[in-house]
Symmetry: C2
Subunit: 396 residues, 2 copies
């Protein structure tokens, strides 16, 4: 092979740096607070096994044949009914089944983005979303966040002076910060999107995982002009290995996403869709969410208590009401990517903050995952990180 | 919503016209030779049900967790071994598991195509591939085919005068023609790709379905410089509803496809991968292929015999040695899309030829699928189409 003339999109697209870090953290005996995985012991293995068997018995041939790109109709209908019961103004025509909510980011990008088109992101944000937008050669407008979510005065400054097609937000239990956007900010966000004619992507993989505080309406529920594309996922509330999520959008938008889906994987695995449909329609989802929320609440509380015990007072962190992540801020000058090496030497791991920013910020930030940590190792792991941080703070 | 500023790629991208035709053909009582689906009664439902149950029992938690983008390692290894046993020079590092071979076309396009980049297609070709290349705003160089496949003298003319990045071919039991490229042409194709430095996509969903004649080596087996990207599928030999296929390529190319896959569906359904892995590694695949080949051979023979009986002598057609399709040429001046309406009135359906061409040719062509036809309705359905054709030929 003399030359490989890859597409220009790869000039901004590399394998995720964090994947390399995660490989490190998969060493034996490492206590890992990296990754963003649900806890495998939360998976309802036996129930799903039975539902798989039922699917083969009841609809085996039909399930194994090609399906429609829009998704398994009963699952679409169940999701529409579920959201309607939450007060959303949706019908089955607003629902597209996707192969994990990440595919929704790809299909939305495919529908809207030409090279150079602007995407507003809240800063910091989900690093794999950057990978996807990069693969469409997007340019970025980063809006800073505080403890109430994306800052709306900063957003308006950006919208006045630019012409983005998309605003990407994880408003609830954000990745990486764990912060939830307040209702007032959400209303402002919808108003600004209406005023400046921008589409909002509401990425909501964690919204169902609330452990304390009061629920806040989703952006989609506040959407007055059909300009919110909502991406939901069964990965964190049933199981990620099945690869089932859903998009909720205006039919004009959804139609483009369906064409995009036809041109990628044709449709999502029918077996996965049937299993998720049966799980939901047989009333198992809500009790399961309650169960995993109890499990994750205990882990979150254990991690926060351990951090209170072991982290030096110069370090601060968020206290999320749900989701999977806690976000730590170290004193200026400390570089979390460097400290990770010391932590790994002590057999504990986290994710450094910089990859969650586009502009080189976040060097002194780090993300801790509690959902996939083992309950009885949380204190020990946090204690070891605390030792690394205490040493580092001393040596500033 | 005042405006929807969709991406430019949608200017050339619409829902598949054939999907609309297929909806027609799903009316009750229609004998459909449309579509390109395997026969649902070929699916090994009970075996797959048992393997699904085994998967849950043996690796339930692990299977339901996130997996790697490259695919389930034992399945990658099994495929590498299977291909090696066929004489291919491959290792596990050449194998990427994809969500159906169609995703391979998307990931290959993502790896190589910038807007305006040229793709060589054999004409006619698989219409959904056009949709995918359109979604990357490719431009096309169409090379005509004859009963030996793509014409190599015509291909060289095109390569001398242009600079395409990709050559897209379905060399074995082509869609829509059913034709298999000869060994001589295959060798020439590899030589030309080497000489003009072009990547070849070998799309091979049907290659395992041979009912007569001698096997011809795949392009990938003849590849001397690692420039063939082979796309294989379990859709036609196990079941399409599981959405599992595989790409075989040089690691430098595969690496870009993996990054593309990370940015779309993260990984293929683990449950689907495990089921396919167990099916293959427990020795069920080869006997199953034998079984469905016997089934499809009978259907092909029945359809060809019925065509001999009922079609007017002015109509000609291919006699494929495998695959799913027979391709018919009507006398010049007849328009198969018009005749389809008369056929549907007689409760029988086929796919008109024009969508398989990019330049408006194929008006007098039509594609017949025999794999998904019911054996005892083939003669009756072909008889009805024969009546439509006989009338049409009389009225030229």
């Amino acid at each position: 092979l003399t030359t490989l003339r890859f597409a220009k999109r790869f000039e901004n697209l590399s394998g995720s740096a964090v994947r390399e870090i995660l490989k490190l953290t998969q060493q034996k005996d490492i206590i890992s607070f990296g990754g963003g995985m649900p806890s495998a012991d939360s998976f309802p293995v036996d129930e799903l096994a039975k539902l798989a068997a039922d699917t083969f018995a009841d609809h085996g041939e039909q399930m194994l044949q090609y399906g429609t790109s829009e998704g398994y109709q009963p699952l679409r209908e169940w999701i529409a009914g579920w959201l309607k019961a939450k007060g959303w103004n949706v019908t089955v025509d607003n629902i597209l089944i996707i192969s994990g909510s990440q595919q929704g980011l790809d299909l939305t990008s495919k529908a809207f983005l030409d090279p150079g088109d602007q995407v507003v992101i809240e800063s910091p944000s989900y690093l794999s979303a950057f990978q996807i937008f990069n693969s469409y050669q997007a340019s970025y407008l980063a809006v800073p966040s505080d403890d109430q979510g994306m800052k709306m005065d900063e957003l308006e400054k950006v919208l006045v002076n630019n012409n983005p097609k998309l605003i990407y937000s994880i408003p609830t239990f954000q990745n990486p910060t764990g912060i939830t956007m307040t209702l007032e900010r959400r209303k402002q966000l919808i108003e600004l999107a209406n005023k400046y004619d921008v589409i909002i992507i509401e990425d909501d993989p964690y919204g169902y995982l609330r452990y304390s505080g009061e629920p806040v309406p989703s952006l989609k529920a506040l959407d007055t002009e059909g300009r919110v594309i909502y991406l939901g996922s069964f990965s964190k509330i049933v199981a990620p290995g099945l690869r089932v999520g859903f998009a909720v959008a205006d039919p004009a938008i959804l139609g483009k996403m369906v064409i995009g889906k036809q041109a990628t994987d044709v449709h999502t695995s029918n077996l996965s869709q049937q299993i998720v449909y049966r799980y939901c329609s047989q009333g198992m989802l809500e009790p399961h969410i309650e169960k995993i929320c109890a499990m994750y609440k205990a882990k979150r509380d254990a991690m926060l208590a351990a951090m209170d015990r072991h982290f030096p007072k110069e370090v601060t962190w968020t206290r999320p009401e749900g989701g999977l992540f806690i976000w730590c801020t170290l004193p200026e000058g400390l570089v979390s990517a460097e400290l990770l090496k010391e932590a790994v030497a002590k057999k504990v791991a986290f994710i450094p903050g910089a990859p969650f920013y586009l502009g080189g910020q976040g060097q002194n930030m780090m993300r801790l995952n509690f959902s996939n940590a083992e309950m009885d190792l949380i204190d020990e792991g946090i204690k070891r990180i605390g030792e690394v941080l205490t040493d580092a703070v001393k040596n500033i």
